[in-house]
Structure formats: structure tokens, C-alpha cells
């Protein structure tokens, strides 16, 4: 039995492209589940595919002391969705570095629920969106800190760059805290390329397109700095650069 098809009334689907999702819903209705065992470390890099619609729905359970680092590039031509439901038990750590790079009429979104259920968990979410044309890029991120999950340290950093007037960024960090000794930080900004930085780069000999591309690389590529596997770093960096060349 597949889960019922979502509606826009559900907050986590509010900005989704449901028309694009409908024909392929069945294959994504059931989220994948992952359990990272106590004390284990897991690192993964998620690249875009050639599909027009690409959805990943994953539930991750971090057992005590487990560590997970995800690096995700969301750049579907029509609709891309990365949906994570993460629970952190005592002393576990979760890092998400994600980019939405969208062009044309595309919708790309990263939707997360991070549940701190044990003491001393740490979560970091760093999201960068670059959008041109009439593209939409969203981050909806809820952090829940359960009663008793003291010394939780949760951070959400969300920045979006809009290259055209028609582009849309939605940034919605959300906190739900039921413990009194926690550190939860979030910041969100939406901006455009800085005119003085562009002039500086052009005055050094970069044509306008190359100058924009370089500034956008600076905005996005730092996300991948922590990837330990060199081949994986190379593959996501190359894919992100290609995606940036398409939006510049």
C-alpha cells in the first residue's frame, strides 16, 4: 500500500511541484531507511541524475555516538526533492551540506526534519541555493529537540542567491525545543551578486560571464570542502560547476 499522494496543505509539501511528482509518486512513496550503528561513521555524496524529476526520501536513525555526513547536490531540470528525516540519539552527529541550483522553471527543494532525541547530539545543516530564470529553490528545515535531549547543539545556515527577478527562494528554518539546556542557531539570507565584487573581478580581466561564474563558485563550492574521498569530491564539484555554468 503506497502512502497517500501529498497535498500542498501539508507544510512539508507546500512549495513542491506536485504535477511533476504525480506520475512517478509510487516509486518514491515509501522512504528509504538507514540505520547508522552506535559509534559508526557514514559519509555519502548524492549527485543529481539525468532524470527530469528526481526525488530522494530517506529516514536516517543515528544510534548513540554515530556520525553521518551527507553532501547533496539538487539540480533537477523539472523537480528535485531531497527529503530527510533524521533522528539523533545520544552523542551522535549529523552534517548536511546541500545545494539547490536551479534554472528555467525548475523547482528544487531540500526538506529536513532533524530530531534530537538523546543528550549531547550535534547537527549542522548548510544549504546554498543559486537560482535564475523562474526557478524556485527551497529549504524547509525543522529541528526538534525532545524533552531530555540536553546539550543539543543544532545549527542551520541557509543562503540563497537570486540571479533573476523571476527566481524564488524559500528559506524556512524552524525550531521546536522541549529541553532547556540547548544551543540552536539558524540564519537565513537571500541576496544577489555583489556589484562591487563583479567590477573588481572584471577590472582584473574576467569577462562578465566568467566573473559571475567565479563568484558563484565561491558561494557554493565551499560546501564540498569536507569530503574525504577525493574521487567523490571531484565528482560533486564537477557536477556543481556544470550546474553553475548553466545558471550563470
Amino acid at each position: 500500500m503506497a502512502a497517500p499522494f501529498p497535498t500542498r496543505k501539508q507544510e512539508e509539501w507546500r512549495y513542491a511541484d506536485l504535477d511533476a511528482l504525480r506520475p512517478v509518486w509510487e516509486q518514491f512513496a515509501e522512504p528509504r531507511t538507514l540505520t547508522i550503528g552506535a559509534g559508526e561513521s557514514f559519509e555519502d555524496v548524492w549527485l543529481p541524475t539525468a532524470d527530469d524529476v528526481h526525488v530522494r526520501r530517506v529516514q536516517i536513525a543515528l544510534e548513540p555516538g554515530a556520525k553521518t555526513r551527507l553532501f547533496v547536490l539538487n539540480t533537477a531540470p523539472v523537480y528535485g526533492r531531497i527529503e530527510l528525516d533524521v533522528s539523533l540519539d545520544e552523542g551522535s552527529e549529523f552534517d548536511l551540506f546541500g545545494a539547490n541550483i536551479g534554472t528555467g522553471l525548475s523547482t528544487n527543494e531540500i526538506v529536513t526534519v532533524v530530531k534530537h532525541i538523546g543528550v549531547g547530539g550535534r547537527s549542522r545543516q548548510t544549504i546554498r541555493s543559486v537560482l535564475n530564470g523562474k526557478a524556485t529553490g527551497s529549504y524547509l528545515g525543522r529541528v526538534e529537540v525532545a524533552r531530555g535531549a540536553q546539550q543539543t547543539d543544532a545549527d542551520q545556515s541557509v543562503k540563497a542567491m537570486l540571479l533573476d527577478r523571476g527566481a524564488t527562494a524559500n528559506c524556512k528554518p524552524e525550531l521546536e525545543i522541549f529541553a532547556d539546556d540547548v544551543k540552536c542557531a539558524h540564519g537565513a539570507t537571500v541576496g544577489e551578486l555583489d556589484a562591487m565584487q563583479l567590477f573588481y573581478a572584471e577590472s582584473r580581466g574576467l569577462d562578465p560571464v566568467s566573473a559571475r561564474a567565479l563568484l558563484l563558485e565561491g558561494f557554493v563550492m565551499g560546501l564540498w570542502d569536507g569530503i574525504e574521498n577525493a574521487a567523490q569530491h571531484e565528482s560533486i564539484a564537477t557536477a556543481a560547476k556544470d550546474a553553475l555554468r548553466r545558471v550563470v
Binding site: 572584471e202 574576467l206 567565479l214 563558485e217
Partner: protein, 247 residues
């Protein structure tokens, strides 16, 4: 080499330059001095092509080409370098990447071969060393976390790497301590003093000029050149101030 004729320019519809005429022949370095708000930085920005700085009258040619018709990157490829009064920070982009892409973009525009990564790093290290800058700093994002003095030194390292024909230096000496001032002065002489090169230094102070020894000194006031002379004019201004010099 750089010929400016009756140049008028406005910023946000406000007239700032009111008929600047100036000729810097190849092989010479000139200085422009003047009080705050006289149009010195505007002149530099207009010559480098900053958006929003509109020329309403007059002309500027560089090696006989119409400078004002060129895009900023084309002016750079033609050999013009602007040293910024306030160098800009670019987070996430290392100095090495920034300068290698800039240099290779210029070289492509001129129909020259690109420099390989190895040759570029060698050049960058060499120039950093000559300016007394730790080459490790070039791995850091452009100007991020640099002190005022480090930014100005880095501008000179950029000038050394890009090797322009003509340098337009906007208050490169402001915010420098005595050692850095000397290093910058020597850098200008080493990089820009040649029969086929030229420069225009914009400055408030006479001190840098003692190192560089400009061939001519001009005073810019209310958007026009009001006096020209040799280095003695700069020394005189240092003693008397601009108000009296204009009288």
C-alpha cells in the same frame, strides 16, 4: 600613452569631473593630488569603467584606442590596471584561482597561450616574495581577513602578476606603515618603471612620491586639474595645504 581630454563625468547625475585634461606619455609616472571630494577616485573609476560612472563629455584614449568604448575586462586585457583604494573581499575564491583565471582570461583576449598551473604558481610565489608577502596568503580567499596594509600589498602582488602596461593606483599608500609604504614604492618602481609603461598615482600624501619620484604632479580640485608641476609641487602642498595652493 594615456590621453585624457576635457573629461566630464557624473555619478548619480551629480557632476564630479568637470573637464579633466591630462596626458601621461609612455615611460612616465604621474601623480594626482587633491583634497577629499575633488574627484580623484571618480577619475580612476571612470578610466577603469566602473558601472554607474557616466561620461558626459570628453575623451580618453589608451595607446590610441578609445578607452571609454571598452568594457572593464577589455581595458584590463589592453593593459590597464586599477589598484583599488578599498580592495574587495571575495569569500570562497582563493587568490590563486582568482588571479590565474584573471591572467589567463587576459592572455586569451590578447591571443596568447594560457599559463599552466605550475608556471602560474611559480610566478605568483615570485611576486609575493618580491613584495614581502607570505605566499601562503595567496591560498586564502581574496582579501578575506586581510588587514588594510595586507590588502594594499596584495594589490601590488596582483599588479606584479598581471604585469600591466599602465597602472592607475588609487590611494595605494593610504593605511600603510612605513615599511609597507617603502615596499609598495619599490614595487611600483620595479613593475611600472619602463620605457613602454606608465602610471598614474592618486594620493593624499607626498611620502609615497619620495620613493616613486613622479615625472609630473597634478592637483585636482573640483573636478579639474588646477596646477601641474614637478615633485616640488607635491612638497609645497605638503607644507601649505590645498587651499593656499589653489590661490
Amino acid at each position: 600613452m594615456l590621453e585624457i581630454t576635457n573629461l566630464h563625468a557624473t555619478v548619480a547625475d551629480k557632476p564630479i569631473l568637470n573637464g579633466v585634461t591630462l596626458d601621461v606619455p609612455a615611460g612616465e609616472v604621474h601623480a594626482i593630488m587633491g583634497p577629499n571630494g575633488s574627484g580623484k577616485s571618480t577619475l580612476a573609476y571612470v578610466l577603469a569603467g566602473r558601472p554607474g560612472y557616466a561620461v558626459s563629455e570628453g575623451a580618453a584614449t589608451f595607446d590610441g584606442h578609445d578607452l571609454l568604448a571598452m568594457e572593464p575586462y577589455e581595458r584590463a586585457a589592453a593593459g590597464l590596471f586599477l589598484g583599488f583604494q578599498y580592495p574587495v573581499e571575495i569569500p570562497g575564491v582563493s587568490y590563486l584561482q582568482f588571479l590565474r583565471e584573471s591572467l589567463n582570461s587576459q592572455r586569451r583576449s590578447r591571443g596568447e597561450d594560457e599559463l599552466s598551473a605550475g608556471d602560474f604558481i611559480k610566478l605568483a610565489r615570485e611576486q609575493a616574495k618580491l613584495l614581502g608577502m607570505d605566499a601562503e596568503m595567496l591560498k586564502r580567499p581574496v582579501n578575506v581577513g586581510f588587514s588594510g596594509g595586507e590588502k594594499k600589498r596584495a594589490e601590488m602582488v596582483q599588479m606584479g602578476i598581471l604585469a600591466p602596461k599602465f597602472a592607475l593606483l588609487d590611494e595605494t599608500d593610504s593605511g600603510l606603515d612605513i615599511d609597507a609604504l617603502k615596499a609598495v614604492g619599490e614595487g611600483i618602481n620595479r613593475i611600472m618603471r619602463a620605457p613602454d609603461k606608465g602610471g598614474l598615482l592618486i594620493t593624499h600624501y607626498e611620502r609615497l612620491l619620495e620613493y616613486v619620484r613622479p615625472d609630473r604632479v597634478h592637483v585636482l580640485q573640483a573636478g579639474r586639474i588646477t596646477r601641474s608641476g614637478d615633485i616640488d609641487l607635491a612638497r609645497e602642498l605638503e607644507n601649505t595645504g590645498y587651499a593656499e595652493a589653489a590661490a
